[in-house]
């Protein structure tokens, strides 16, 4: 069940694997065509055509038009093929004004200006806000909400003690731990979940950790 000698191969990821490479003081901007379109008379003047200064202000999009958890299932027509990342496919369903807002918001997102994107979408006129694509994007970008939960996972000290001592031998692998016991290790999450189905379970699920 358990790998006695971990394979030497491992997925070595550098430190701070996800630390973003930011260009210094990169100020996002909406391209000229989009900015010009957004400046049409039907758009309230409060919408920033150019963003940058003051973009850290939140827009207060707490109440999304579409329930967050329902958004994936409620728009099957926009579902894309597995693994596909076609950025334009779902735009075909949007009206012209909504399309402009989506394009502008996407530019801001790509520039990591999330508050500015929220602000832009929050300030859209009502006929744009009612567009399903805009509603979905607003929902997705709305600030997270946190609620207390009764779920408890007390006492993983033994698992952590094991990780500190043994993890270097299992680099690149998934490990499943219960107390100071290694229940299983495997190269893939799928494998380790399969192995765990055959292990007598204790009253609580094991801690799963991918050793980097």
């Amino acid at each position: 069940m358990q790998t006695a000698t971990p394979p030497s191969q491992s997925t070595q990821l550098g430190a701070d694997a996800f630390e973003l490479r930011r260009s210094p003081r990169h100020v996002p901007s909406i391209d000229g065509r989009t900015a010009a379109a957004l400046a049409q008379p039907q758009i309230p003047p409060s919408i920033p055509a150019q963003t940058g200064a003051g973009t850290e202000q939140e827009s207060g999009l707490g109440q999304a038009a579409t329930p967050p958890m329902a958004s994936r299932a409620s728009h099957p027509h926009r579902r894309v093929m597995r693994g596909g990342y076609d950025e334009t496919s779902n735009l075909l369903h949007a009206n012209k004004d909504a399309l402009l807002f989506v394009m502008a918001a996407r530019q801001l997102l790509q520039a990591e200006q999330v508050p500015a994107a929220r602000h832009l979408l929050g300030a859209a006129p009502s006929h744009v806000l009612s567009d399903p694509l805009i509603a979905s994007l607003r929902s997705l970008l709305s600030p997270p909400s946190a609620t207390p939960s009764r779920k408890n996972d007390a006492g993983r000290s033994l698992e952590y003690k094991w990780l500190r001592a043994e993890a270097p031998r299992y680099r690149g692998l998934w490990v499943a731990l219960s107390g100071d016991r290694l229940l299983a290790s495997a190269a893939t999450l799928l494998e380790i979940r399969e192995l765990l189905r055959r292990v007598p379970t204790s009253e609580r699920p094991p801690l799963i950790h991918r050793v980097e």
Binding site: D16, R82, D86, V114, N152, P205
Partner: protein, 148 residues
């Protein structure tokens, strides 16, 4: 129940969990702080690296696949990392931040997923940490957290 308070006795954090700090690589390097989360219906707690410098939280590709998130219709977004540039999507999911003491926290969060992402799971700022108070006590590896 609150575990940390401001001077005026308003609560700062209602949950506490032990975190584990592990070296970034076999050669050593800066220790990385991992906190325990359970994304949506995953069924087990997993460790996620706490990375306040990351714009978005990220799920390991295999975790995302297990949650059936890779075929979703979320917002396409390409991100640039030390491991390279990757296309992916933003998806909205529930993430539990698990407590040893006090209250755990269920966060309706936005996370980035990609089938091409070769890295681990990260708890980042936008879409998750931005509405959570948190503090670290390295004297006993405590991670305190609570909703705003």
């Amino acid at each position: 129940m609150s575990l940390l308070f401001f001077d005026d006795r308003t609560p700062f954090a209602a949950g506490r969990a032990e975190f584990v700090d592990l070296p970034a690589s076999q050669q050593g390097g800066t220790a990385k702080i991992y906190v325990r989360i359970e994304p949506e219906s995953f069924g087990s707690p997993i460790d996620a690296e706490l990375d306040t410098g990351a714009t978005w939280s990220v799920l390991n590709a295999e975790v995302a696949e297990a949650l059936d998130l890779l075929g979703g219709s979320g917002e396409p977004l390409k991100i640039s990392t030390r491991l390279g540039e990757y296309p992916g999507r933003l998806e909205r999911i529930r993430v539990d931040i698990l407590a040893d003491e006090g209250a755990s926290l269920t966060v309706d969060a936005t996370v980035w997923v990609s089938q091409d992402w070769p890295g681990g799971t990260f708890v980042g700022y936008r879409g998750l940490l931005e509405r959570i108070r948190f503090a670290l006590d390295p004297s006993d590896n405590s991670f305190y957290f609570g909703g705003l």
